[in-house]
Symmetry: C5
Subunit: 374 residues, 5 copies
């Protein structure tokens, strides 16, 4: 539970930019990771894998199998030179390259003359149970798809496995299908994150019903903020997929669009879950606040009833604790100043008076319904 | 009332999926029920009913009466093989089959080349008074409609009865009409659920006016959450029906569209009721909170008035309970240190002083309007 | 005021329906009133009025003056046979007849091949000051308009009077104009209801400023709920009128559309008033809650100041009420254990000490600004 | 400040109408002012001014200068006959005349065959600092513009002055330009009102920071309501101006439309200011409520700390105020029942005990952070 | 931190205008700064800079290099004559000039026959840490762009530097590109402001978790208001950029539109950040309020438990402090009126009784769960 109550940071790495600088300038943040390149070149029968971290590896591999479909997978954006070289080699606009390294893009899909460009938000809980929100971007041109990720995490492992298995149309449907498959993997991970959040909500709700304490408020706020982060990725992702479906680029084939329609449904389902969870979280907060306020009510009621019953009684005791006295010339008390004190059963009468007042007050409160639970 | 205060679980069965797996993969949840198949084959004059649980039953029956309209009713989705066989036999896209078994679809309507596909949410209170939210899906192709349900509950009994009666156009209007009739039955059940919720709201409201207690907050939150579940089904259902009305598929005939317009109105009516009920529920919560706060006010006021009246009186009694004394050499008290104590009517004066202060304070509070009900 | 604080019931008569029954089935609720029929047949020079309660009256009258415009006014929907006969005679779709008797329709306007159909919500306060929300529906075909109302109330009296007077175009503009006139009368009544609500809001506001009590919260909630009912009728009414203006049916003539534009403006004005009133009601609730909280503040402040001043004083009195004593062998008190008690002016010193503490505390609180009104 | 705290009445004069009456009926409210007519007839070189209060003045003046542009300015709508005469003379639809006298129109712009009609809301603070919300309407036909106002206030004085000066295109641009100029003057006055409200908001905010009291809540609510009135006029005014810009009537020339675009911008600016002011007002309320709650916290904390420290001390004093005693046969006290009382330094010990408890409790509270400001 | 808690003033300079004055009138506010003019004339190879403050400088420079692109940068709007002269010289509509000097425009983009006009809001924190919100406007015609700013601050320094460097297309892409570059610089500054706000939010959040006090509420409100100011600029800025992208003016070339698409994305990103920050700020306020309320709960609980335990104990002490006595004729006490007082171990019994009651009450409260943290 300890890792659960960690603050969710919504700020990832800070923007690094100069005011008014030339658009298309490629600024690499200081803590960006060095790039790791893996190239998958494949056709129906063949799959080649080649690793490297410089431009040469790429150009060699592309030349070698120029009829294959290539998926150039780049993890780590720490090398401005490499990214510019890729841009030049592929004929990519500087503004697109800027978007690749400026990792605060909203999901979007842009069509250019002979290539398409898209970004998504990759969201997962890391091993320290922190919510990570980093950027994926992809460029599709001719028979090539280049994917860029911020981290070195092997996020797209399942796609690699599917490529190796070679079942279905994954090796034959072109780079647009790979782009779809990557997007779909990202969406699948949204459901993983949402299911983890769902479990936490369940835990929090159980706690609310079983042993509520003030951490609930805190946890619910954290969950809400996590959900807001996901929603902020999900909404533009939906628009992006919609743009892809409506795209007139031949890189997004009709077959791929059919699958994208499916991804579109998944995206809406994820948004639906986010909204549900947000509402559940809100109702947890409402119920918790109502429980706190009921608790306060109960405490106040007990305090009030006990106070109000005892205040007059203590006052009476105080009266008969007064030292009014009248003494005769011998210093002997003459029982006429507080005559009750000298009555034979004065004490018993006083006790009876007090009991009467106490019971009377309790009766009045019972009549007023103060003993009902409200 | 006990079953009433059950928690509403909005999570049905968990998603079962692998991140990044091939789209169209059919994953059957472990707790899915085995399929029960009933085939109704009918034309204007004939109605045949055939039960089974495998593919053979279906193919035999379809061959036998190839001029009839067939309604293949499948309850239970626990047999991946069967569903794939149906898919192959009917020529249905894998993605559609995935949607059939992944029972978290939003209501939607998709047109394909020669068939249409739709899903709805079936919502009802089960015998344990729990809200069940499960999936209906239907495929219409040629003269066949296949309906899939998660549960074994005989939800579409009324349609069976209407088929047996054979009145109206139900036997002659084709599979599209059956699809409409199933959708309409689902909508009718929304009204049943809403009417049950309406009764519960009435009970809660009666309780609010007659014997409010803290369960009201809880119950209102539960009702609200139930309404949210229904609304989440109702909105996309409306869009789905609208898509059907605008569909250009010849499986949805012009006659059926007239009826769908009617179903569309019902759907909006249901949404309207949901919104009404949500507002009533909110106003119950507001009124309850206001009653609680009024109660607290009243209690605080009584406490304050009694405390504030008695605090000075008790202080005076305390003063005259002090033991200041001045004794002469004989140890006799000389009445000059607290002379009031030795006055002849000192006690009476003290009582009058106290009464005066008490009445004075009450008068001040009355002047300030503290006895008015706010 | 007593009738004012009645609960507003938003549920009218319950839906009566069977799940999954044949669409177009005419279910008459058990408490539906028997129909009263009045037929107004008129042209520029002539106006005939005929009353009855069966189909024969209608057919006779229609035959008798087949060149006249006919307004068949039916109050009470308790006769399924009659309604079906009218449907058959006029050639009306079963679904339309179902909408006529199922009195929970939202305002809508539907065009059919040779007739048009519209519904509205009639809203008024009845003699018991309860908000009644019942259904009006109208069918216009050829030279005939049939109007259906749930109640026997003579709601359209003013139209009857205008028909009798025969001024303006009411007798010559055809049944579409009568339909407009009925709709406009319903809208006029919205203003009547809104003006009654406006008066109640004024009363509540006056009460808030003059003698606020806890009924204000209750009354404001009731008003809010009433306004919600009206808004729910008003919004679709606007859409309905808009549909009529855009209608291509020749039953809604160009002249009538000019008047409908006017009705459309009225409808928006009514919605505007509803929104205004809702905002005023909300601000009444806010102000009331703020007054309650201010009151609590004031009370708490008085309690605190008095308590905090007297608590130390009472403690001091308690100290000098202790019985510590030191006696010599003669049982005489030796004034060395609580020497203050035996000082000559000990009592006066104690009183001065207490006064000092009291005044000091008051000064501190005054410094802290506790005497300012916050 | 006294006039400031006046209630803002959002209801102006009451609707006067009969339910179901003939559309186009002209009902003059009883308190309507008698009309004052001023006719300005002008061309590039000439400006004639003529006053009157009947139809004859108008017809004479129109005949006399039939080539001039005429602005017929009518203040006061108390003469039904006059308005009907104008309607007949100008050939204006009855529904338009009804809108002129029914002074609850939303701003709108309607085009008719050969004339246009528009309304606006005139909003200002009168000399009693009350918010006045009355109606302006204008009819433009041929070379004539007729303007109607409810009040006798000389609201359009600046236009008169500009006409007399004759600079710019005001005398030559036709009646459409005059209509624009009137609308623009009304918009300019919105800024005057908004600037007065801005000053009041500043005053209220200063008060909040310097000497907050409970009038702030009240004042903020009043300001909010005033802003709502303005917003309600501003939004449809924007639509109206937009309708004018898109109008195809030749009465609204292309030149005028350029100016209307400017007026449109002003309208949006006014709406922007309204929204800003509403948000500032809301944040004033939030801050005030938070200050009140902080004040309560502080008071409660002082009460609690003082109570909790003194309650055990007073209890101890109470214990040693008990009269338990054991007397020997001589009536002399034997110091064995409450032996502490008879210890030599018992009193000092008791004082030390009390001090210890008091300091200990304060230490505990300090440890718990109760002395921190939260 | 002191400058942080400054009030954010959303009102800049006051509107200065006369109601109903001629549109296009140029009113210079009294505190407007005198204009400083810098003209940058450049082509691919040449860059000339010329400073001045009158019309002559401009005309001379334009004539001198009539093939160059000119950027006339005007800081300070205090000279009505100059602005009118520029308007006349360039052939600019009076209404545009009015918008230039009336510095309360929302961002907008207007196309005229042969020139375009746009405004933006420049937002930054000045050296006193106050939020400044002033106006930028630009006119593009032929080969000239004129930029107007309210302040003398050298806001566009980076553009000057880029012009001097002459890299990229800045010197060759025409005045439309300069207009884009200025707009983009303004947008870049939004991110600077947002990043400062982000830091403040972090500080406030740290404070919330580490040493919460009541300044948090205040600071969060200030941050919220700042964010509202930025959002109000950002939204219309987006629309403005969109209008520029869709503009058909040849002054906004296709190349520039590509860059504008990039600026459009930045604008949406800024809006996204504003929304994120608003939500974080709201959740800070919620958490703070919940902490305050938890604190109050804890304090109330301690008060209640201590009070409720000691109230009955003090009452018992009060009882045995009563002076009921019965004396024989010798003035000797006969121990029968309060016999407990004279029991041998009465005092010990009383102490035991008190301890028992105290422990019993604590046990009851523990049972009720009052010691749990809620």
């Amino acid at each position: 539970m300890s890792s659960f109550t960690k603050r969710v940071h919504i700020k990832n790495r800070k923007h690094k930019f100069e005011v008014g600088e030339r658009p298309g300038t490629i600024n690499i943040p200081d803590d960006a990771l060095p790039p790791q390149i893996v190239i998958y070149s494949f056709n129906e029968t063949d799959l080649q894998t080649r690793e490297g971290s410089d431009m040469k590896t790429i150009t060699q591999q592309l030349k070698k199998c120029n009829e294959h479909t290539h998926w150039i997978k780049i993890n780590g954006l720490g090398d401005a030179k490499l990214i510019e070289d890729i841009g030049t080699f592929m004929g990519i606009n500087q503004l697109v390259l800027e978007d690749v390294v400026n990792t605060h893009q909203r999901p979007k899909f842009d069509e250019y003359d002979n290539y398409v460009f898209g970004t998504s938000r990759i969201i997962f809980f890391n091993d320290d149970n922190e919510l990570v929100n980093c950027q994926f971007s992809g460029i599709v041109k001719d028979n090539i798809i280049i994917s860029f990720e911020e981290s070195h995490k092997d996020y797209f492992e399942p796609i690699k496995i599917r490529l190796q298995a070679g079942k279905g149309i994954i090796r034959t449907a072109g780079p647009g299908y790979i782009f779809y498959a990557l997007t779909d993997t990202i969406l699948d991970n949204y459901f993983v994150v949402l299911s983890q959040i769902g479990d936490r909500i369940d835990q929090t709700e159980d706690k609310l019903y079983e042993s509520p304490d003030k951490s609930i408020m805190f946890e619910a706020q954290q969950l809400k903020r996590t959900l807001i982060v996901i929603r902020r990725s999900c909404w533009p992702e939906r628009d992006k997929i919609n743009d892809m479906i409506r795209s007139e680029s031949e890189l997004i084939t009709k077959d791929v669009k059919l699958y994208l329609r499916d991804a579109y449904d998944h995206c809406i389902q994820a948004m639906d879950m986010v909204e549900s969870y947000k509402e559940v979280t809100s109702s947890i907060i409402d119920l918790y606040l109502s429980m706190v306020s009921n608790r306060m009510n109960e405490i106040m009621k007990v305090l009030t009833i006990i106070s109000v019953v005892f205040i007059p009684l203590t006052f009476i005791a105080g009266i008969y604790g007064m030292n009014f006295s009248h003494t005769d010339e011998h210093g002997h008390v003459i029982p006429d100043n507080m005559p009750e004190l000298y009555w034979h059963h004065g004490y018993v009468y006083a006790i009876i008076l007090m009991l009467g007042i106490g019971v009377g007050l309790l009766f009045i409160f019972w009549k007023k319904g103060w003993f009902n639970k409200l």
